[in-house]
């Protein structure tokens, strides 16, 4: 008997059929991975199960223990012991751990909040998860890994028979990932059903008992652990064979574009970067590998003029001294930054595709103070075609696009300013396999046009596969340098983690 069984689920939104006659069973004590590209329908399916999309929106049935259930809202599904741990943390940062864990179902005695009981119960749940977080800590003081732990504790403090993890490792430092996996396995041992969503196939291989592949809202295939073949699964996901993930390397010039000389950064009395020097040449793809907090993001912030703190050292760009001030100045010089957090620093979420694409290059399209509509539209179309952005129209709300397409919209925005140097901070985060490959190809195409590219990623195979040259950064210092093809994942990770420096 399936714990939760989805039967012939179809759901339509204006312009798209997000799920098309999908049937799938989830069992207790099983880690069931949902795979598919962005827009394949995974998130929609999760939202249906979690009651975010009410039952009035779809056709088809949902059964729990063979009894039909209908969720009108998130509370309904939560009351039926289905809990979701979302990719973007849904904790109230200003409240304590215990307050968050009991948010919405606080324990009361005589009508007043029973803080003592809630504190004790929080402590119990956290202890069960093997965590030593104090329940009275304010959430914003916790690391991302710890916040996720609280999120899981919150889910478990309610009745949980089915736990859904929506890309739980997307924002997680490497060393926390293993801890999370151990935890998920122990939850499985307790008989809880797990639905696991991730773009990282190696995680799926390590963790999942069963895999269901969705594509364009349709059920494609299902595999159990003993017949996992990643090549077949990827082919199912993107609908074609993925022959070469990383494009061929093209030669680059010797002209130095960006030269960073002995810089140090201090923020809040903490040394973030310590006498670091590097060079990036025209047409070069320079990869930077490093763990979260190694200083890689701070380095980009500095170059782009958004770093808040003290800075020492010299930067020259295009043979001239360059003092970063603000993004406007960086863009004017030809430096752009694609940040890791699209929602926060990238998308104008109230705007449409076109508005988001042209916002940095409006001056180009402006004649006598007025924006030339046809010219800007034509330019947008060119990029939609070039980057293969899947959107119904240019006036489509950017918020409704899938992650990969949103990322491409932001890439277009910065390509339109005709940059000389592109800083890419984890550009494939939350992006599916097919779109990833397209982004790699684009990086090399841009490099072959003479643009310098500095590329940071939390996925090591990516940095190693894409870059001409790889720098390993640890504790704000460069600890290793390799040319393409002369290193391995283990070697880089070892240096990044400070094991064999």
């Amino acid at each position: 008997m399936a714990l939760l069984s989805i039967k012939n689920l179809t759901i339509e939104f204006p312009g798209v059929r997000a799920l098309d006659n999908v049937s799938v069973d989830f069992h207790k004590g099983e880690i069931h991975a949902l795979l598919g590209e962005n827009g394949a329908g995974k998130s929609t399916l999760i939202k249906v199960i979690a009651g975010v999309w009410p039952c009035s929106l779809y056709s088809g049935k949902m059964l729990m223990d063979d009894m039909e259930v209908k969720f009108h809202c998130v509370k309904d599904s939560s009351d039926s012991s289905i809990q979701v741990i979302y990719q973007e943390m849904s904790l109230a940062n200003n409240l304590t751990v215990a307050q968050n864990i009991f948010l919405g179902h606080e324990t009361r005695s005589h009508g007043m909040l029973d803080t003592v009981t809630m504190y004790k119960k929080s402590q119990e749940v956290l202890k069960m998860l093997g965590s030593s977080i104090r329940p009275d800590t304010i959430v914003s003081d916790l690391t991302i890994g710890e916040q996720q732990m609280v999120e899981i504790a919150k889910a478990l403090s309610r009745k949980a028979r089915l736990l859904i993890f929506d890309e739980p490792t997307a924002a997680l430092p490497e060393d926390d990932v293993e801890r999370l996996f151990t935890l998920i396995r122990s939850l499985k041992e307790k008989g809880i059903g797990i639905i696991y969503i991730s773009h990282k196939l190696n995680e799926i291989r390590e963790l999942a008992d069963k895999v269901t592949v969705l594509r364009n809202g349709c059920y494609i295939s299902q595999y159990t652990r003993d017949n996992f073949d990643m090549n077949v699964i990827v082919r199912d996901m993107i609908g074609r064979n993925l022959d070469k993930v990383f494009p061929e390397q093209k030669p680059f010039s010797d002209r130095v574009l960006l030269k960073i000389d002995n810089i140090s950064l201090v923020s809040n009395h903490k040394k973030i970067i310590n006498s670091l020097s590097l060079e990036c040449r025209k047409g070069e793809v320079l990869g930077i590998a490093g763990l979260l907090g190694s200083g890689r993001t701070a380095l980009f912030s500095l170059i782009y003029g958004v770093f808040r703190g003290e800075f020492n050292g010299k930067i020259s760009f295009d043979d001239k001294e360059y003092i970063p001030e603000n993004p406007a100045k960086a863009i004017e010089k030809g430096i752009v930054l694609v940040t890791e957090d699209r929602k926060k620093y990238g998308l104008v979420t109230t705007g449409n595709v076109k508005e988001n694409m042209i916002i940095s290059s409006l001056e180009q399209f402006t004649h006598n103070g007025v924006i030339n509509e046809p010219q800007s539209l034509r330019e947008c179309r060119r990029y939609v075609d070039r980057l293969r952005i899947k959107t119904p129209s240019l006036s489509f709300p950017v918020n409704n696009l899938s992650g990969g397409n949103q990322q491409k919209v932001i890439l277009s925005r910065f390509l339109m300013v005709k940059p000389k140097l592109i800083l890419l901070d984890d550009p494939t985060r939350g992006v599916d396999v097919g779109a990833k490959q397209e982004i790699y190809a684009l990086i090399h195409q841009l490099a072959s046009e003479g643009i310098g590219i500095i590329f940071v990623s939390s996925e090591l195979p990516e940095v190693i596969g894409v870059s001409h040259r790889i720098l390993v950064i640890q504790d704000g210092k460069i600890k290793g340098e390799f040319n393409h093809g002369t290193t391995s994942e283990e070697e880089v990770l070892g240096i990044a983690a400070g094991v064999n420096a």
């Binding site: 998308l347 109230t350 940095s360 001056e363 924006i371 509509e373 034509r378």
Partner: protein, 381 residues
């Protein structure tokens, strides 16, 4: 036929349609209740004169709200600059034209100061302009502690005169011809660039015909009385210019982007400081302009002019669908919102509803309008 209708329905902006429908409904109901008085030429002219100040403030307020801020000082600023204008002319014998220029420049400067305080010192706009609301009212009451009479005819004519017929009809021709010309040019250019039209040609044509008919009816009604109030021309001019700035210039686009996501706008190379200061500058300059119109209307400056006008302006924007969270709103819609508020007020006066009751009804309408709007949005998504 059916497919044409459904295509038309698809292409129609439901919000605009709803607002116009509401406005026509309100006008119709009050016209019947007042025994055909509301739609008469003289009352229609009155309506236009009553709406000008609120609508002009709503135009500026739209940009403020889109940017994600609020400006509570506009009513008091209107009073202060009105009183100062009157004082400059009546007490200091400054040339009236010079006085108007000085006041507009001063209004812009004061607004820029608001923007600078908001941006650089990180004081919420609510607080900065609440301070303005209180302080500028004080200045108004000080400068105009005794009502300052205005004796110069042309200043009074700004608000009290009407256009002669030949001018009204030329204007009518322009109001009809200009959108036709713009639509044609945009269609030709899109076609040349081989880009799809946003709407089919016939729908645009239909819209233009409806708009032209409405303009003809309004102008014919007004010219059967005294003519078009000069104030209405000023409003038309300001609304068209600011509306165009919002839609078709980088500055306008930046305002929407900043309101939508300030961080993203900053990372896209947009200067938050410059645009914030400009928007606040424009707002207070419009308040100053409204101050001049108000003293011209009253032929004098009194200590209470412009009182509570900020609330009318904000209400107009909200009824017009602007989101107080920033990022969305439209100048034209806020002007429609101002018309709705003013029409209700005007109509209620015509049928003899007392001021106290009027306030209760208006407050209710405001909340109902937004509730209805939210409900329809939720239904759509």
């Amino acid at each position: 036929m059916k497919t044409y209708l459904s295509e038309l329905w698809e292409a129609t902006n439901k919000r605009v349609l709803f607002m116009i429908f509401l406005l026509v409904l309100i006008l119709g109901v009050f016209d019947i209740l007042s025994g055909g008085y509301v739609l008469r030429a003289e009352n229609l002219a009155n309506l236009f004169r009553q709406v000008t100040v609120v609508a002009m403030l709503a135009v500026g307020m739209t940009l403020i709200i889109v940017l994600g801020h609020i400006d509570l000082s506009v009513g008091s600023a209107l009073g202060m600059f009105g009183a100062l204008t009157a004082s400059l002319i009546a007490h200091m014998d400054v040339n009236p034209i010079l006085a108007v220029i000085i006041i507009l420049a001063l209004g812009f400067a004061v607004g820029c100061l608001h923007g600078a305080l908001v941006h650089y010192l990180n004081i919420p706009a609510f607080v900065v302009t609440l301070g303005g609301l209180i302080a500028y009212r004080g200045v108004t009451q000080y400068v105009a502690r005794q009502s300052i009479p205005l004796r110069i005819d042309w200043i009074k004519s700004i608000a009290q005169d009407f256009t002669p017929d030949y001018f009204s009809f030329s204007l009518l021709a322009l109001v009809i011809a200009a959108p036709v010309a713009f639509t044609s040019i945009s269609h030709i250019r899109l076609k040349k660039a081989n880009l799809p039209f946003e709407k089919p040609l016939w729908i645009d044509t239909l819209n233009l015909i409806v708009f032209a008919l409405a303009s003809i009816i309004i102008v014919l009604t007004l010219t059967s009385g005294d003519g078009i109030p000069i104030q209405a021309l000023i409003l038309l001019f300001i609304a068209v210019i600011v509306g165009a700035i919002a839609k078709h210039t980088p500055f306008g686009q930046y305002v929407y982007a900043i309101g939508g996501n300030k961080q993203a706008a900053h990372y896209s190379g947009i200067s938050i400081a410059r645009n914030t200061i400009l928007v606040f500058g424009l707002m207070t300059m419009l308040s100053a302009a409204c101050g001049i119109i108000t003293i011209s209307e009253l032929s004098s400056a009194a200590p209470d002019i412009g009182d509570l006008k900020e609330l009318d302006a904000i209400a107009s924007c909200v009824i017009g669908g602007a989101s107080l969270a920033g990022g969305s709103g439209a100048v034209g819609m806020s002007v429609l919102g101002a018309f709705i508020i003013t029409t209700i007020r005007n109509g209620m006066s015509m049928i003899g509803i007392v001021a106290q009751t009027q306030k209760i009804i208006l407050g209710t309408v405001l909340v109902l309008a937004v509730a209805l709007d939210q409900w329809s949005r939720r239904k759509k998504s």
